[in-house]
Assembly symmetry: C2
Homo-oligomer: 423 residues x 2
C-alpha cells in the first residue's frame, strides 16, 4: 500500500441553524486534528456556496473547541442550495475541480434532510467519476446530521433536538406560571416549529406528560386536527379551570391534509391589499376569540426555540460533538455516501448514545414522523414512553461562554466571509 499523501479535509454547514451544529463542527475539527492524514482543515462559508464561490476559512490548528461548541447558530454560515438532478450539469464538474484544486480528500457536510440531498447527489456523482476514471483521486463525501426537527430517518434523535426540547420544556413551564396569575378565563395558544413532525411540540408538552395538567392540549401534525372537537375540549376544560394552554405544531393539518387556517391565508388582506399570511397560532387565537369569546392570545416561539444557546442541553452538545468526530473518522477511513447517526442503547437499563452509519439515500429528503403508538396523547402509558424518550436528551446544562452580564464570547468567523453575510 502506497504511503498516504496528506490532504485537506473540507467541512461545511447547511440548512437551518441550531444550538448544536457548531458542536458537531468542533467534533469534526477535533477528529481531523488528531489524524495524520489531514494536512489542512478548510471550512467552506455558506455550505456548498462557499465551494462554488471560493469562500473559505483555514481552520487548521484551531483549538478553542469549547467556545465553538457553545457558539449559537452556524459559525461557517449556511445556505439553502439544491443541486440539480442532472449529473451532467456542469456544476458538478466545477465542484469536483474546486475540491481537486484545494487537494480535498474528505468533504464533511453538516445538515438536515435537504442538506443530505446535497451529500447524496455529490456522493453519486463522485462515485460515477470514480468508476469512469479509476486513476482520478476523488474525495469521500460524508453527511453529519443536524436538525432541531428530529425528523431524520435512521436516527434515534438528531443533534440540536435536545437543546430545542430543553428550551421548549423550560419556556412552557414559565408560560404556565405566567398565564396562571389571573382568575379569569383565558386561552393561550403556543405555536411551535414542525411542518410535518410533532417532535418539538411533544417536548413543549413535557410539563403535562410528566404528570402535570398543562399544557392542557397538545396537537401535532401527525394527528388530524378537528376544530369543533378542539373548541368542545376547551369548553369542557373551562368548566374546571380558568387558564387553558395549548401547544400546537405550526404544521397542524385537518382530516383532508390541509393546513389548519390555510383558508385564512386567502381570506385576510393586509393594509397593502396583499394576502395576510397568518400562522396556525394566530388562526386558532381568532377561532377561540370568535367561537368562545374569552381572553385569548397566541405566542410564536419563532427563532428563539432554535437559537437559545443559553438553554442548550449538555447531553445534546456532547453527542453532537461525538457524532461529528465519529463521522469524520469514518470519512477518513474511506467511507463515502453515508450519514452518521445517533442510536440509543438501553442495554444496562440506562440511556446511552451509540454512533453508526446510515446509507445517505435513507436520510435525504425524507422525514421521520412521531410514531403512531404515541398519537393518543391522553393515555398515561404513552405519556411515559414520551418522557422516557425525551428526558435523556435534554439532560444537563451546557457550559456558557457568557460574562457576568450575559454577553457572549463567541466565535465570529463569518466576519471573514467574502459573502459579507455575517457582519
Amino acid at each position: 500500500m502506497a504511503a498516504v499523501t496528506p490532504k485537506t479535509l473540507l467541512v461545511g454547514q447547511s440548512g437551518g441553524p441550531s444550538c448544536a451544529i457548531n458542536a458537531t463542527l468542533a467534533g469534526v475539527i477535533h477528529a481531523a486534528s488528531e489524524s495524520e492524514k489531514v494536512e489542512r482543515i478548510l471550512g467552506t462559508f455558506h455550505g456548498i456556496e462557499g465551494v462554488l464561490k471560493d469562500n473559505t476559512i483555514d481552520l487548521t490548528g484551531f483549538s478553542d473547541l469549547e467556545k465553538l461548541t457553545a457558539t449559537p447558530a452556524m459559525a461557517l454560515g449556511s445556505c439553502r442550495f439544491k443541486l440539480p438532478a442532472d449529473q451532467d450539469d456542469p456544476i458538478y464538474e466545477k465542484i469536483l475541480n474546486r475540491l481537486d484544486e484545494w487537494n480535498v480528500g474528505w468533504f464533511l457536510y453538516i445538515g438536515g434532510n435537504d442538506s443530505m440531498d446535497t451529500v447524496s447527489k455529490l456522493a453519486a456523482y463522485f462515485e460515477k467519476v470514480r468508476r469512469q476514471h479509476p486513476e482520478k483521486q476523488v474525495p469521500t463525501v460524508f453527511g453529519l446530521p443536524k436538525t432541531i426537527d428530529n425528523d431524520l430517518p435512521g436516527c434515534d434523535h438528531t443533534p440540536g433536538y435536545g437543546s430545542a426540547a430543553r428550551y421548549l420544556s423550560v419556556t412552557m413551564q414559565e408560560l404556565i406560571r405566567d398565564t396562571a396569575i389571573y382568575a379569569l378565563p383565558s386561552v393561550t395558544i403556543v405555536e411551535i416549529m414542525g411542518r410535518n413532525a410533532g417532535w418539538l411540540t411533544l417536548a413543549a408538552g413535557l410539563p403535562r406528560f410528566m404528570g402535570g395538567c398543562k399544557p392542557d392540549i397538545v396537537a401535532i401534525p401527525e394527528v388530524p386536527f378537528d376544530e369543533d372537537a378542539f373548541l368542545d375540549r376547551i369548553r369542557m376544560l373551562q368548566k374546571e379551570e380558568h387558564t387553558i394552554i395549548v401547544a400546537v405544531s405550526e404544521g397542524l393539518r385537518d382530516k383532508n391534509g390541509d393546513y389548519v387556517g390555510s383558508s385564512s391565508k386567502s381570506g385576510a388582506v393586509d393594509v397593502f391589499g396583499h394576502a395576510y399570511l397568518s400562522g396556525v397560532g394566530k388562526y386558532l387565537e381568532h377561532l377561540v376569540k370568535h367561537k368562545i369569546g374569552c381572553k385569548v392570545r397566541s405566542i410564536e416561539l419563532n427563532l428563539m426555540q432554535r437559537c437559545s444557546a443559553h438553554l442548550a442541553s449538555r447531553t445534546d452538545l456532547e453527542e453532537s460533538f461525538a457524532v461529528g468526530a465519529y463521522g469524520t473518522r469514518q470519512a477518513l477511513e474511506g467511507v463515502t455516501g453515508k450519514m452518521a447517526v445517533i442510536r440509543r442503547s438501553e442495554e444496562n437499563g440506562g440511556y446511552k448514545a451509540v454512533y453508526d452509519c446510515e446509507e445517505i439515500e435513507k436520510c435525504a429528503n425524507q422525514e421521520l414522523l412521531v410514531p403512531e403508538k404515541w398519537f393518543n396523547l391522553e393515555d398515561k402509558t404513552v405519556q411515559k414512553e414520551i418522557c422516557d424518550y425525551i428526558l435523556p436528551l435534554i439532560k444537563g446544562e451546557a457550559k456558557h461562554f457568557t460574562d457576568d452580564y450575559g454577553n457572549y464570547d463567541y466565535i465570529n468567523w463569518l466576519q471573514y466571509s467574502n459573502a459579507e453575510g455575517g457582519r
Copy 2:
C-alpha cells in the same frame, strides 16, 4: 407608650407578572417574620380581589424564601382591578371592614403604575377614616414597586426590569447569530414590550450600544417614527451588509402620535370578517416586504420577556428582595401612603442601590419615559450612558431551582386559591 398588640401583615401582588415580583414578596415575608409586631402573615390571592372575596393564604412561618424568589410570575396571583374614584363607594368600607376582621395592621401591595392607584386610593380613604374616627385602628398601606417596563416615577429603575433586560440582551445576541447565517439580504424585526416607554427596547439594543453594530436600528416610542426614513436607512444599510436586525417597541408612534401600523388595524380583516389586529412588528414586516421586497420576518418576544426566570438577573432579584424588606420595615414603623423606591448611588465610583420612600401620588398612574438626552441613539456618548445605566442592573446569573432536566421546583400556592385560577 402602650404595648403594641401583634397584628396581621397582609400582602398582595397586582398587575402584570415579572421574574422578580416573588423576590419582593420573599423580602416582605423576611422582614415581617423578623418583627415582633407581626403575629400573622397573610397573602391575598389575586391582589385586592382576594380581600373582597375572602381568598387568602396564611404564610406565617413560611421560610423557603430562596425558592419563592426563584419562582416565575406571581405566587399569589394577580388582578387588574381599578378601585372607583368615589371614596363613598361602599367597596372602601367593605375592604376596611375585611381588614379589620382579619386584624390587619399593615397592607403591602406589590405592583406597577395601576396597582399604585389602588395603594393611593386606599391610603387616601384610610387617612380620611383616621381623621374622622381617631379612635379606630386603621392599617397602614404601602406600595412596593414592580414592573418590567421600568416606568415608575421616582425609581432609578424598577424591580423586574433587570431580569427582562437580561433576557432581551441575551436573546438579541442569539437572534443576531441566528439571522447572520445566510448570505442573502434579510430584515428581521424584533418587537419588544413598551406601550409608551422604550426602556426594554434599549436593553435589546445593548449588543449595539456596547460597541457592536447590531441591532442595526433601535426604535422607541419616545422618538417619533418616520416610515420613509426607516426604509431609507434599511436601503442604505443593505449596501454594506446582508443581514439587518431592527429592535422596536410595541408602542412606536408617528409624528402625529398615532401608533405605527394603526391604519392596518382597520384595513385588515381575518377569515371571520373581523378586524385583524396586528402588532407593529407584523406591520413593519409587511412594509419592508412590499417596499423593499427582500426576505423579512418579525419576531414578537411576547410573554417570554417577562417570565423567563431562567435568565433572571441576580442583581435584580437581590434588589427586589431588598426593596420588599425595606418597604415592609417602613410600613411596620407606621409609614403609610408611600411607595418604596430604588435609587442609584455612585459615590465611590461603583454602582450601589439605595432604598427610599416616595409619595404614592408621584408614582400612581404615571410613567417615566426614556430621557430626551438619550434620543439620539447613534451618538457614542449617549450609547455609553445607556450601557452605564443598564449594565449594573443585569449583572449576575440568578440561582435556579431546576433539576438536571430543566424542571422547575417552584412555589405553587395558587392551587389553594378558591378562585381556581392557578391550576
